[in-house]
């Protein structure tokens, strides 16, 4: 396999009962790339991430992460990836600093207090080191979850809707952090509802619908497919729904 490929997905399938959450998905993500997965609720983004992270088992298909077959080497792959879930899912009774120390241990790493504080400093939470999650704002909880995703110095970072529910300032703050990860040549895979966000952060984006990949290109190329006047009424930013509707269209759905 090409050494520049971080993740290679081949004909991935996952169903829950009669619902095909992921349907014959194939794509590659390159090392150092910030890759966005877009789609409406129920498109299969989170299920796809779960399959790539080794949290869920595929019904069929193959995932290779950093050159390792995920099905055969899930634990080894988990040591090399960092995951921020859609929900922050923090341990409720541990302080921010204690969470960092615990998760470092769960990755088999020793971490001293200075290093843990430095990681909190990186996400602008050093002053909240002794705060419990309930004392953190939504944005601060997301930043702590991002710090936990970085505690093992991962080569690939998965971010599942990292800015959902955040105010604009907190969203921009998180964007800066994601750009910082890209600048460190880490591979980042993020899901989002917002094409604006994907355009600002991602080198390439894939659009999912009904578990299928219906488009994969750079944000500029995707936006270029859309008739600009109808796509951005009243001068506001495009949203996924508008782009998504135009990209998919009835003709494609019926094909």
């Amino acid at each position: 396999m090409n050494a520049s490929i971080a993740i290679h997905v081949e004909h991935l399938h996952k169903a829950y009962g009669d619902v095909r959450a992921v349907d014959d998905l194939s794509f590659s993500v390159y090392r150092g790339e910030i890759f966005g997965l877009l789609g409406p609720n129920g498109a299969g983004k989170t299920t796809t991430l779960g399959l790539l992270q080794g949290l869920r088992r595929a019904d069929a298909g193959r995932v290779t992460v950093l050159g390792q077959d995920l099905a055969a080497h899930a634990q080894a792959v988990k040591r090399r990836i960092g995951v921020q879930l859609q929900r922050t899912s923090l341990l409720p009774d541990l302080t921010a600093l204690q969470q960092i120390e615990l998760f470092a241990h769960l990755y088999g790493r020793q971490i001293n207090r200075a290093s843990a504080l430095a990681l909190l400093e990186r996400v602008s939470l050093a002053e909240k080191a002794n705060a419990l999650p309930a004392r953190l704002s939504g944005g601060q909880q997301q930043r702590l979850a991002l710090a936990l995703a970085l505690v093992n110095d991962p080569e690939i970072v998965f971010l599942d809707e990292p800015t959902a529910g955040l105010d604009p300032q907190a969203r921009r703050n998180l964007w800066d952090l994601v750009r910082g990860l890209g600048a460190e040549a880490r591979t980042v895979i993020l899901t989002t509802h917002y094409l604006e966000e994907a355009e600002a952060l991602c080198h390439r984006v894939g659009i999912l619908d009904g578990g299928r990949l219906i488009a994969l290109d750079t944000p500029a190329a995707l936006l270029g497919r859309i008739a600009a006047p109808s796509a951005a009424p009243h001068g506001r930013a495009l949203n996924l729904e508008e782009v998504f509707l135009q990209l998919t269209g009835r003709a494609l759905r019926e094909a």
Binding site: K78, L85, L90, L94, L102, L106
Partner: protein, 257 residues
């Protein structure tokens, strides 16, 4: 998703288990209010029986001395409920999913959770025992009380295993709480809360096989006169069997989401 908890190889498993247990004990120390609230029920019952159950005349039954070992046992039972609630809450809050993204197998972490709760429950049982002994003046044999604390480990593990199993069956925290109370109260009263001779014959037949009765059989004579019962191995083996059985069922039924 159903996840069968694998039994970890001892050497590789030990470190994350201990580190996770240490973190959860720190979490308990961060949340002393919950630690104290969990103690309220046994302490309240102890005070209640102390107020109403003291013998008024020579020859009267010393109800508080009779029920004291069962209340100490109740304290460790409540530890099982805490473990059950924590698992169900973590499942609902996505904490298990958060833990599952790390390379440490969830089975190791559940064992760590059980270990942490066992130590917290043992500390709570010691507080109840000391409160009854020193604050209420309930007659306790000193060396026997120390041995009772060691023997309590059998009960702590059995009730935490029961809690883990019930947590695997319950989908929501309130269901887990109700299910545990449904098992807790009958076991408390049938396994030492009521004098056996007042029970109907068929319940007298059943009650010795309850984990509460086994624990009571072990610690009652220790607290009263410092001696173990004539055949201590049977209740010890019984509690160990409950621990293994409930743990196996929990491993079989465990769901992280």
């Amino acid at each position: 998703m159903n996840t069968l908890i694998s039994i970890p190889p001892a050497r590789t498993a030990l470190r994350p288990i201990i580190q996770f247990a240490s973190a959860l004990i720190r979490a308990s120390l961060n949340d002393l209010r919950t630690f104290a609230i969990t103690l309220l029920t046994p302490l309240f019952m102890l005070v209640l029986f102390w107020v109403v159950g003291r013998p008024e005349e020579p020859g009267d039954m010393d109800l508080v001395a009779f029920i004291f070992p069962a209340i100490v046992g109740l304290t460790v039972m409540l530890g099982g409920q805490t473990a059950a609630m924590r698992i169900v809450n973590w499942r609902a809050q996505g904490v298990f999913q958060r833990l599952a993204v790390t390379p440490t197998p969830l089975g190791h972490l559940v064992i760590g959770l059980g270990l942490a709760q066992a130590l917290v429950s043992a500390a709570q049982a010691a507080i109840v025992l000391l409160f009854g002994w020193l604050a209420l003046g309930i007659g306790v044999n000193g060396p026997g009380a120390v041995t009772a604390m060691l023997v309590l480990v059998f009960g702590v593990l059995a009730f935490i295993a029961l809690g883990l199993f019930l947590a695997c069956l319950a989908s929501k925290p309130d269901v887990a709480s109700a299910a545990f109370m449904f098992t807790l109260l009958p076991m408390f009263f049938l396994g030492g809360g009521f004098p056996p001779h007042i029970l109907p014959p068929f319940l007298q037949t059943i009650s010795p096989y309850l984990p509460t009765a086994m624990l009571n059989t072990l610690i009652s004579p220790l607290l009263a006169n410092g001696s173990l019962p004539a055949e201590p191995w049977w209740p010890m083996l019984g509690l160990a069997a409950y621990t293994v059985g409930f743990s196996a069922l929990a491993a079989w039924k465990f769901k992280w989401e």
